[in-house]
Amino acid sequence: MKVEAEQYGDRTVYTVSAFNRGVAAWLARLPTVWVEGEVTELRRQQRWQSVFFTLKDPGDGACLPASMPRGQFDALRLDLRNGERVHVYGRPELFEARGELRFRALSIERFGLGDHLAALERLKQKLGAEGLFAPDRKRRLPRFPRRVGLLTGNDAAAKRDVLTAITTRFPSARVVVAETYVQGPRAAPALVTALEDLCRAEEIDVIVLARGGGSFEDLLPFSDERLVRAVASCPVPIVSAVGHEQDTPLTDLAADARASTPSVAARLVVPDADEVRERLTQTRRRLQRAPLHLLERKRARLDGAYGRLRALSPRATLERGYAIVRDGGRIVREATEVATGERVEVELGQGGFSATVEETR
């Protein structure tokens, strides 16, 4: 009979073996679960009962030792290699002889690119059906933002490229940078938090979400449902500048605009300083000429009116040889208006004279 524990006064002291057995019994009550990770340190030998490997979290590198009976492992015919992403179905177990925790695998499924793509496609369909990517949700970007928010990784390259592109195009641009994780499982929630911070900052009229190129898996946080929703509901117009031309993370679809390169992003969010100045100079020139033009036009109109006035004047008619006869200031149009012997005034093109009516007809 094994000794489980001994009493030393009021202290109960267990043997290592008893302790391990106790923990193992507790662990055995935990349910079977699926765990996703990368296979590393895969060890399989003919003379071993089990195949051993370590499951690694690609996000932060956390590790879980795992094992599977060799016969079962071989029957799966997975031909697993280190670095492959898998789903493992199993339960935790304590290797009592060494007090080591281990995940006892009951089944292993490879989680390949196809699975990622399928999951992504399902999410895309779902969010698309909700209208998150609808063209009528896209807002116009401001032409002259007071401040530009830049949400980027602490990896220097993407940040530097976008900042350089913005300040080259518009040297007086004011940019507020929010840095956070852009890779791994912590990236999506961290990006959402940083985006909310940026939206709360003052005077930010447009936001650029920037990340350099990377593998399909590197860019997965930019297709994370939480981040995609945050981009779609962002109160400030937002540009997604993630990865390269061939990549289409879902943030590209949810944003108001997408940029395939840092310089495209810069063109979208700030105006070209030289063009702005040139346009302003041109407008000023027109403004300064405008009153003069206006005066000239008014003058021309006046001249035109005067010309027509003169053409209509009776003086022009008199010049042609006609005369006006007035009887006491009243123009005489008919012979009956005057009587013989009456004095009338005659006006000619040049000068005039008085006359006496000799006879009317």
Binding site: F144, T167, S172, E196, R286, H293
Partner: protein
């Protein structure tokens, strides 16, 4: 007033003046307003010192 608003109003004023429909009194007022808007735009272009700030992040919970 933002640069964009000032620039837009300035360009509308120029168009209005160039159309020749304003009377002389109005034209002078428009021209003065235009000059003021132009000065506003220039000031904003020149005074907006390029600046890059780093936002202090909220620690994720």
């Amino acid at each position: 007033m933002t640069f964009e608003e000032a620039q837009k109003e300035l360009e509308q004023i120029v168009q209005q003046l160039e159309s020749g429909q304003a009377n002389l009194d109005d034209a002078i007022k428009l021209w003065e307003r235009g000059e003021e808007l132009h000065r506003l735009c220039l000031e904003q272009l020149d005074s907006a010192q390029g600046k890059i700030e780093v936002l202090k992040p909220t620690e994720p919970a």
